[in-house]
């Protein structure tokens, strides 16, 4: 029996390929989908089925892309019309050799969400695994806010029912395979277990132990961020996203050309680290470090203007390109040939960002000309505490709140580590703020250097994501 989890790194999206008897199925494929056909080839299997557990909102579905070379059938929940594939409903069965997949309708995250129960009939009629999509994660449950505030309560009630009537009724020993892992924006606080089980979740996932009313109340009031690109993804994944055939090929952009590209509205994305960006960068560029791209590009980049990457040594850009393709940014266009140094070798002015170590901030904490801006997500701030005197705007919402920030002060941005702080600094500089400084190490470094954080209240909401 073939069973493999394919993780799209950083995005923390899980897809699965399973198979037996020469036939395989893929659950929630990503758009750069050759990985699945390669696995099937190694196992001498044909991919005959593609399942969408729900209409994804955080990445472009690869179903159509994968159906093209394989001829596989696309299947999704029947409670919503898709522009492609076939709707399936409760209790429908699909066979792959001795393996059998049974559809469980598990609405709540979306209306048409399904889970898939896997049995290996050659072994037993007991189910072995359940693919829960965005209904149940390790230590978390699916978001119910994305259908809109007006439907949030209803979706939460449906999710409660799906969890308690469909999923938790399975045996404790059933392995749970969710569509996302830790770090995903699709769950408030997904655990970093690679695998979990019904029994382990029932015992440890505190959301599963809530009574229905508590649960719904929690879900209705949960504070979650929705990156703007989610809307685009829902639209694409409903209608059927454009086929790409292969990964785009980035053009080399010379330092001479980049200026005119910027004048034409190109989006310059500096994928280097906070200190690299701070030491010098192209004015107007924004700094989303290479491993932060899947999480933050969707807040700041549009789908029309060409995107040009800036790195120092242009290493492994092929992998970077995948992040853009997975989120539908087919306007990824080029990279600065020669890296950022090509910019300054031409005599161009390099813009800098200030950087402070914790000691620097501590010395200036009471300086009235210093404005401390915390750009972490609000749960993190509430949970972990904050630096005295700091103001808060989430980095993803910064551009909508610029007028709250004084232009005559030195703005010291910080997050929990320094990466999101540098992103925020780049946004401020792009919008004309002159004196912008990033706190290296953020609150992590601050505490490590023995400076205090203020904690006011404890909340149920946990802290998502790793420190970057």
């Amino acid at each position: 029996m073939l069973f493999e989890k394919i993780k799209s790194d950083i995005l923390a999206h899980n897809s699965y390929i399973i198979g037996a008897g020469g036939e395989a199925a893929v659950i929630d494929p990503r758009r750069d989908c050759q990985v699945y056909t390669n696995i099937a080839e190694a196992w001498n299997m044909k991919i005959t089925g593609i399942f969408e557990t729900h209409k994804n909102e955080d990445y472009v579905s690869g179903s159509r892309e994968l159906a093209r070379p394989t001829g596989a059938e696309i299947l999704h929940g029947r409670r919503e019309e898709f522009g492609f594939g076939t709707g399936v409903g409760e209790g429908e069965m699909f066979g792959l050799g001795s393996i059998e997949l049974e559809v469980l309708e598990t609405p709540g995250h979306t209306q048409e969400s399904i889970s898939l129960l896997l049995r290996d009939r050659s072994v037993s009629d007991d189910p072995l695994m359940v693919f829960t999509g965005d209904a149940l994660f390790a230590g978390e449950v699916g978001r119910t806010d994305l259908a809109g505030e007006d439907q949030r309560r209803e979706m939460s009630e449906m999710l409660y029912a799906s969890l308690h009537e469909k999923i938790l009724t399975l045996d404790d020993g059933v392995i749970v395979c969710p569509a996302h892992g830790a770090g995903s924006v699709c769950g408030g606080n997904i655990g970093d277990r690679e695998y979990t089980t019904i029994g382990f979740e029932a015992a440890t996932n505190r959301l599963l132990s809530l009574e229905k009313e508590e649960f719904v109340e929690y879900k209705v009031n949960e504070r979650l961020y929705e990156p703007p690109y989610f809307a685009k993804m829902r639209e694409l994944n409903k209608s059927g996203p454009p086929l790409i055939y292969n990964l785009p090929h980035l053009r080399a952009v010379s330092a001479r050309d980049i200026r005119s590209l910027v004048d034409q509205g190109a989006q310059i994305v500096d994928i280097r680290s906070p200190t690299s960006f701070a030491g010098g960068h192209i004015p107007g560029s924004i700094n989303i470090w290479r491993t932060g791209l899947p999480l933050f590009m969707g807040y700041f980049l549009n789908y029309e203007d060409p995107i040009v990457l800036v790195d120092d040594f242009n290493l492994d850009l092929d992998h970077v390109v995948r992040h853009f393709v997975r989120l539908g940014y087919d306007n990824i266009t080029g990279y600065l040939a020669g890296g950022f140094p090509a910019w300054f070798k031409q005599g161009e002015r390099s813009e800098r960002t200030g950087v402070w170590s914790p000691g620097d901030l501590a010395e200036n904490l009471d300086d009235p000309s210093v404005y401390i801006l915390d750009v972490r997500n609000i749960n993190h701030r509430d949970e972990k505490g904050y630096i005295r005197g700091s103001h808060h705007i989430y980095v993803g919402h910064l551009e909508e709140h610029l007028d709250e920030i004084p232009r005559d002060k030195q703005i010291v941005v910080h997050c929990d580590a320094g990466f999101k702080g540098s992103l925020a600094a780049s946004i401020l500089q792009k919008h004309g703020f002159r004196h912008v400084t990033n706190l290296l190490g953020g609150t992590l470094g601050w505490e490590a250097a023995n400076y205090p954080l203020i904690r006011e209240r404890a909340t149920l909401a946990a802290v998502p994501g790793g420190a970057t």
Copy 2:
């Protein structure tokens, strides 16, 4: 939390790397161990611990090899003296960030066998996973015959106790991570589930539902093969195997040189498919197809004489070399440059093997000059049935039973598919049998072509391995 299963293909050996908080441990590492340091590097972790769940007999342990560049501590069960590492016992705890590993002594397969219980204290005190080594597999339990016939009953009783007192008392939702998967020679009939759980095994693994006496009786009478190389592995893995530092570099051997190498006792291994070997091969070579190497080289190759490989296009030999290194065949020396065609371009005589399709055998089934030799394992023959008139000698035991085979007849060997049949044919030809024919497709092809197999009795013993 880092959790990754590293599978050594075909050998079906599972090793695991787990980690948290910047520290990682490897369980049962293989000898070509860079895979672990690469993963640790990608996760920014240091490997600090290496566990041996038991003194392995089917591959060379990579513990010492991995300890060299990492400085990690090697830990194994304390009930036997090893030439390296530190003994650990029941209840000892090891921390990796928030992860905790607890030692369970689970003797039965060997005296010093241990299992490791994993908890993530940042989530819960409930265990999440158990690494069971060779105590419990998916659908199978460990072998108890390898310590010798005299200890078999005692080992079986210990294993029963280990299973029922230590492992099955865990929660149903605990994920089971064994040291072997389907196809391994370390279990009679390991299931091909990639993951399983205590609950699923308790419900479906028929050996776990036996009463103690039934269980012991079954284990004492179980028919299993022990490849001769197991003895060498036990010896190496007890004393500490030699370090290799890197994979050996194969020398190109010219067609001119190969004859003198053979005269000096070199072992010529033809890694091609049955029909490739049948169409022409070097006299005296034995045919272990490239994906059968880990399973059969240990029956036929010695550890002294140089081993030279023969392929047609010499593709991906780097991977082939790994199979030899994993089994300690550091006498792997070279490959025939130019492939088998270099042999016949020199005007050398190519030896052939006969091949028959099922229809050919059916026509000659009653010919008294035809001697049909079934080389499958005995359980397979008993379970699946046999071709009328066929005699049985397991391929791995062929060289000890050559005098049972008539030299004046046409020997038609068969297995279940054709690969082991070709291996058997090559052994016979090497030992001077003149008229040797391999049945392409074996019993699988025979049945597919609608010819009958005779089944005499049903047994509890199941059929291991896939058809090759």
Copy 3:
């Protein structure tokens, strides 16, 4: 200065990328063209120009494919209309930083053939290199037969003039970079020097020392083979070949499906070695070994019916696919999942081919029921000699001459090594010949085993290609 030769293996097609000052040009790009953009990326250069030294007949031009992502201009000789690009003429100059390329019109192989003279103005006004396309090779000159018999004399005269008036007038120290290397079907007998010079060719290339009349006479009478696919290539390369965007993705074809594919006219290509094919193959398949594909597929495959590959272990098929794409076989469709053994595991009948070692043929040389068929090219037969009693039909022409071969005899085919012999055997079996045997080792093995070849006459024509 960037200078790199990119060789398409086996096809022996050379393309070149050169550049300086951030700009690069590619000469005669192949269709799988990412290799050029990767090099340009590593050198921080933009590809701005693409040159076609002539309308190629042996592979699909990659000019349009490469122009798509790079935006580079395509340039070719102006004496013929192309469906794309711009015509250039004698003396036109193109700059890449300090490098200058000068067009020399050098007709003869085709009307619009050009050579390109390279100078590095930062060093000297003396030319450093000349890209001669198909005008001058190492030890050979271009073919003049492809424009048709009626134009052969005129083309030969033009080629003589191009060589002696344009190319040989360059300094002895100028490095010669031709469009093909040894083994190419584009020259009778190209030398295997990787690089050569005007001086070395002037001194050693015997065709350059001929007087005009001798030269023309030689070229008009030269015996060369024209694979049927050349016509398709000329047509595509004139009009502009279809864009592929990326390499096609092969479908896994199950053993169950392959029979119906054959019924629908699919072309089954067995890419294994002669003995592999001989030991068993799918009836109706033809045997072009994997490294012979670029040289022989163009004789036997059509551009309409789907092509399905058969190998044993399906290794490195990605590379194999490139050969098909380079020759425009976009109908390459799939591969037999599980390899040839999947065929016989289903109980299907495997067809065999006889194989003989030299001694077998020697014993039967006078048997009247044996018909010896030599399928080497005629120059090889004339030059190296033949086996007594053998008949000759070139393997590429075999299908047109089947009625010359007796159907009631045992046909023993041979070439110089065994590969083309196996190809010929497969063609005969496909056309219903029953008793077909391939001589392993061919004439090479025959001589190595000390059997005689008969030589009747010496010719000027040399022997192309290596022994396969």
Copy 4:
């Protein structure tokens, strides 16, 4: 005929593999030598000979390393005793199939320097290529200063004789294959042609047109730098360098550990770009950007203390390690796990370097508290001009001239681009200079921004290397 040039990037060391008839030889192999056996494998050749054209001083010879797995014979000039291999002299011949290599003794760079003349006897008795080691390069000739000042005149005279009596007497069409390309520290100003010829060099290499006295005078007075590691290389390459077997495996060093490593004398090498280093770095680290390592590590690193690398994302460190191994730095030990951000996440203080764009320097050119320090090589300064008021110390000599630099001023270092400037800045900071600023873009950026450079005299000495 196999002919392939293997370039060790950045070091600009060329080695060659040539072969025919199943046998190959390697000329001047590097230490990470698997590249040669891989090529030989692909060509079905055995490496039987290894040539050292001279006792190399800029890298560790790979001859012994390559002889180990291949069994090939090592050959070098007989005029000096080596600790390994066999001495060969004028006129000795070595065969590889139809290829013949003839030894020419060509002293001058070293006493035992040899060149190798290649003929392909199957084609002609005319030589096709000459491997000139460090005697003749494209546009340059070998250094004669490395044997010491006292022997410089004599070595120069010998070189003149070798060039004019042995090499230039060859035919114009002979291809010249030197041991170094552009950028190497082994020649003042090697051209960037990938290939050249006797004829092209005779016509364009201005050193070849000098009379003997002029030539010797030029060579005796030529200003060249000798990195300190050359002495170590000569010693190793004479005695036979230690075998490594494989590339070393870097240990992950945690941010917690790095401080104590530094206390124990570890050498911290920050391989990031100038702006990355400027934005924040570990105090005491030196900044040799990843593509500058082969050229500058030999000036600043010792062979005893452990070397630890710092990058941002730890990309492609395997390739970086090769640079250290090639120069014999077997004390390369580890890398900072998590990259530089791991440093500041721990709350550690990050040291910064100032960076100026050209406009910043222009505004402060007359500020008496600013000390401008030009660290380019002296030829570059003389040839290209200098910034008004700047002082000069070559970066490689900086540590010996620290007392010339005022400690109470702001030191603005610059090179021609910004990389060597950042290296110099890191050296100054390591030695306690507080106010250090690097001019981004160096003189290139300065001129590009339309600020003037002062040129005082023209010299024959040309400018080596690219701008970094």
